[in-house]
């Protein structure tokens, strides 16, 4: 192992520099009601905002309304980048010290950070940017949040309303751009509308199926004097007659579901992100235990059940565990909860779960019957449906499922034996990515927040970490946004400062948003970055090897000296090239008080197996390729 800088026990961290400069090195906690001084200040400010506008020694303008509204919503931190038309907001931010502003280095990083914050806390993440390029830079992050149903409010400035439509400097029709990729969006030209719009935006973002809401505010609205009052939650609901999510499952449908469950011999629960959104992990476990039904999960459903639980069966889908996909293919009943039968989960729908009847629970009626036809549709909140359904089903004696469970156990043993470390890396003495991930999981006691990037690293993380807690896994599933992990981990670390936060990324994704390293340093955000460097776009290379006949165009991706890069930002870096280096490197990074980077130089041509080729079915998994050992 090479340590590029300092002594791992006493790394010269930016925190110490800050202390030397007379600033407080203490990390600020923003978890509501955690007893810390910061959290108490936010709560005091929030309560004050509920009653009256702050006593300002100047005119109250639209920008003040934005800050007041954020505090009223309990926002403690937001991620933003200034620009011409949003400067009125920056002009008043100093009057609201309870609102922590994180100055990101690129708006996309801000959007992902808000996303990561929202995913680990279950609260609404907030990001901001200016008009034009500031707004378009947010777009990738907003899209990521939409596809994964993450509650987010994105605020942008726009040119003064008199200039709208005149192709003014840094003017773009951002409202038109975000329209198809938000749950709802607003253009505000009048400060008097701001209290209502912001309250509605938060309500929409977090209610029902969560999602991003974008608010575009003209510069003159931010500067305009206003006395408009903030609405109550009841007034907000009354003002949105078209938004009444159905939370409780229909009684008749619940009865049908209970009947299906009673007669099923080989049932499987498919749990998704909706269970986490509904905070229904305890309800899910109670339901599974009572009915003795094994639980499989989607990529975003990771953490719905402790992986050490006897009924936790595994991660499904394209790169999921073979035993899980076999169980789905032989099931006679699938109970899908808060998941949407994405093509990465089903493969070819024609051959998907051919023996199974399907009970589908989702809060969004449009998801039911969209990708697969189902027998029992239930529209409702995962938690409420599970709490209503559990008393309606009979407790099942596990002995009556002995034959089924034996087969599941056999499949699991077989699957783990055949795919564990399923690459040639070991044979050649190279560093195997799955081993790295497994060690990170072990050495963090499975207690950290793990934030994936996209590609092979994402699949290795999903398969080998061993997740034991809800919301401990953050991953860009639907949009598959490379460059997600470092900025999202930044938000996740601020949202859950009580847990270690690890960003697991590849060399490709890391190079897309590495500018946020500076934000980690400047704001003392202690993210540990595990960079799995195979000097390739690994998933691209894998597809080219297996599907495109070895035509490796653009798969090779030269990168910089990542240790020097981290060093330039003042981030301690550690390097691991062999399996023997791994534990030391992880422990060294953990010992750093602040961000740290580990440069894992993994085998260059390792594949993720099993793999379901696009367009094929769950029974068509590729488990090996090339050499006999692979």
């Amino acid at each position: 192992m090479t340590i590029t800088r300092g002594d791992p026990a006493h790394p010269p961290s930016p925190v110490e520099d800050a202390a030397a400069a007379g600033r407080s090195p203490a990390r600020r906690s923003h978890v509501p009601n955690d007893g810390s001084a910061d959290a108490a200040a936010v709560e005091r400010a929030r309560k004050a905002m509920l009653h009256e506008a702050r006593d300002l020694k100047r005119t109250r303008i639209g920008a003040d309304v934005v800050c007041e509204a954020l505090l009223r919503q309990g926002v403690d931190v937001f991620f933003s980048y200034p620009g011409g038309v949003i400067l009125p907001l920056y002009d008043v931010l100093g009057d609201y010290p309870e609102l922590r502003h994180v100055l990101v280095r690129h708006e996309q990083g801000g959007a992902h950070a808000a996303d990561g914050y929202a995913r680990v806390t279950g609260r609404v993440g907030v990001c901001m940017g200016t008009s034009g390029p500031g707004a378009t830079n947010l777009v990738t992050g907003i899209g990521t949040a939409l596809l994964d149903s993450v509650p987010m409010v994105a605020i942008t400035g726009n040119v003064p309303s008199a200039l709208i439509g005149k192709d003014a400097f840094q003017e773009i029709d951002i409202n038109g751009i975000t329209l198809p990729m938000t749950k709802h969006n607003y253009l505000v030209r009048d400060a008097d509308d701001l209290p209502r719009v912001i309250a509605e935006a938060f309500h929409i973002a977090r209610t029902g199926r969560p999602g991003p809401v974008h608010i575009d505010i003209t510069k003159d609205a931010l500067q305009q004097e206003t006395r408009a009052e903030h609405p109550s939650e009841a007034e907000v609901v009354a003002g949105l007659p078209g938004f009444r999510p159905n939370l409780d499952g229909h009684g008749r449908q619940l009865k049908l579901a209970a009947a299906e469950i009673a007669s099923a011999k080989r049932p499987v629960i498919l749990a998704g992100h909706g269970v986490l959104h509904a905070q229904a992990w305890d309800d899910l476990r109670a339901f599974a235990e009572k009915t003795q039904i094994p639980v499989a999960w989607t990529l975003l459903g990771i953490g719905v059940i402790d992986e050490a639980h006897p009924l936790a069966y595994g991660y499904m889908g394209m790169h999921g565990w073979k035993h899980v996909n076999r169980a789905i293919q032989s099931a006679d009943l699938l109970i899908a909860i808060g998941m949407r039968f994405d093509d990465r989960v089903t493969g070819n729908v024609r051959t998907y779960a051919p023996y199974a009847r399907i009970v589908h629970v989702d809060i969004d009626p449009a998801e039911i019957g969209k990708n697969v036809a189902v027998e029992v549709p239930i529209v409702g909140d995962a938690g409420r449906v599970l709490r209503a359904l559990t008393p309606m089903v009979a407790a099942v004696d596990p002995a009556t499922r002995a034959e089924y469970f034996d087969q599941l156990a056999d499949w699991k043993a077989d699957s783990i034996a055949s795919s564990w470390h399923g690459s040639g890396a070991w044979r050649d003495g190279l560093l195997s990515a799955d081993y790295v991930i497994e060690r990170i999981g072990e050495l963090t006691d499975h207690e950290a927040t793990y934030v994936a990037d996209v590609g092979q690293n994402q699949m290795w993380l999903a398969r080998y970490t061993g997740f034991r807690h809800p919301n401990s896994h953050v991953s860009s599933g639907g949009l598959g946004t490379m460059g997600f992990s470092v900025p999202a981990a930044m938000g996740a670390a601020l949202g859950r400062p009580d847990r270690e936060t690890w960003a697991i990324t590849g060399d490709g994704g890391f190079q897309m948003t590495s500018q946020e390293l500076m934000t980690l340093v400047a704001d003392h955000i202690p993210v540990k970055i595990a960079l799995l460097d195979n000097k390739k776009l690994g998933m691209i290379r894998q597809w080219q090897e297996i599907i495109y006949g070895g035509n490796y165009h653009s798969a090779s991706l030269p990168g910089p000296d990542f240790a020097k890069l981290a060093d330039a930002y003042g981030i301690p870096a550690f390097r691991a090239r062999t399996p023997g280096d791994v534990d030391d490197a992880i422990r060294s990074a953990q010992a750093v008080d602040g961000p740290a980077l580990i440069w894992f130089e993994i085998a260059e041509e390792q594949n993720v197996f099993p793999m379901m080729p696009a367009g094929k079915g769950l029974s068509d998994l590729i488990e090996k390729w090339g050499g006999a050992d692979e």
Binding site: P180, L240, A264, R266, A373, E375, V379
Partner: protein
């Protein structure tokens, strides 16, 4: 499909046999895909909040979800803050139900109803500028009168006829006068209202 989010998934597959041990020797039948049924013309009524951009939201959603709108008519209702859209599109029942559910996700949409199978009054208005010379004007006017069209403009060489009726009736009228030469044609798209005393607008919980 109605706007009621509780009703959905109307197309269950045929009950698969409950198989404790799936037979290894026989391939199971392929799972049917949602939709794939017979394509026909559907009429959706959407009651929406009268807010800026709501038409754009509806149109954008239909485009993004790969539905092709045949016609779209929008107007105020008796209530100033509520507008009503009549959307006609072709698709199988499941696909159109999916379109209706997607529309229902829009915050500004209060209610969506597929009235295709309900007894309704459907009307569309067309203005047709027909070439009419001195020699055949009388013949054209006779035809218009028989078709219950109304002449709204008479000029040298042409007449403008207003025709009202169902989409099929207007199709037929247009086909009939095409021989004389159509200089211009504009149609409003269908507007529709269910027969009887029930009211889609009153059914909205406000």
């Amino acid at each position: 499909m109605s706007g009621d989010p509780g009703s959905n998934g109307k197309a269950p597959r045929a009950a698969a046999p409950s198989v404790a041990h799936p037979p290894a020797h026989s391939a199971p039948p392929p799972r049917s895909l949602p939709g794939g049924g017979e394509t026909r013309r559907h009429v959706l009524v959407a009651v929406v909040l009268n807010k800026p951009g709501v038409l754009n939201r509806v149109a954008s959603l239909m485009r993004a979800r790969n539905f092709n709108i045949d016609s779209l008519a929008v107007s105020h209702t008796d209530s100033d803050d509520v507008s009503r859209m009549t959307i006609t599109l072709h698709g199988d029942d499941v696909a159109v139900e999916q379109a209706a559910k997607q529309l229902y996700r829009l915050i500004d949409v209060l209610k969506v109803q597929d009235v295709t199978s309900e007894p309704t009054i459907q009307q569309e208005l067309a203005l047709v500028k027909i070439r009419a010379t001195d020699s055949n004007r009388a013949e054209v006017l006779k035809l218009v009168e028989l078709s219950r069209g109304r002449v709204v403009d008479l000029a040298d060489g042409s007449i403008i006829v207003e025709a009202t009726g169902t989409e099929t009736e207007i199709d037929a009228f247009v086909a009939l006068v095409r021989t004389y030469g159509i200089k211009e044609l504009v149609r409003t798209g269908a507007v529709v209202m269910a027969r009887g005393s029930g009211s889609i607008e009153e059914a909205i919980k406000r």
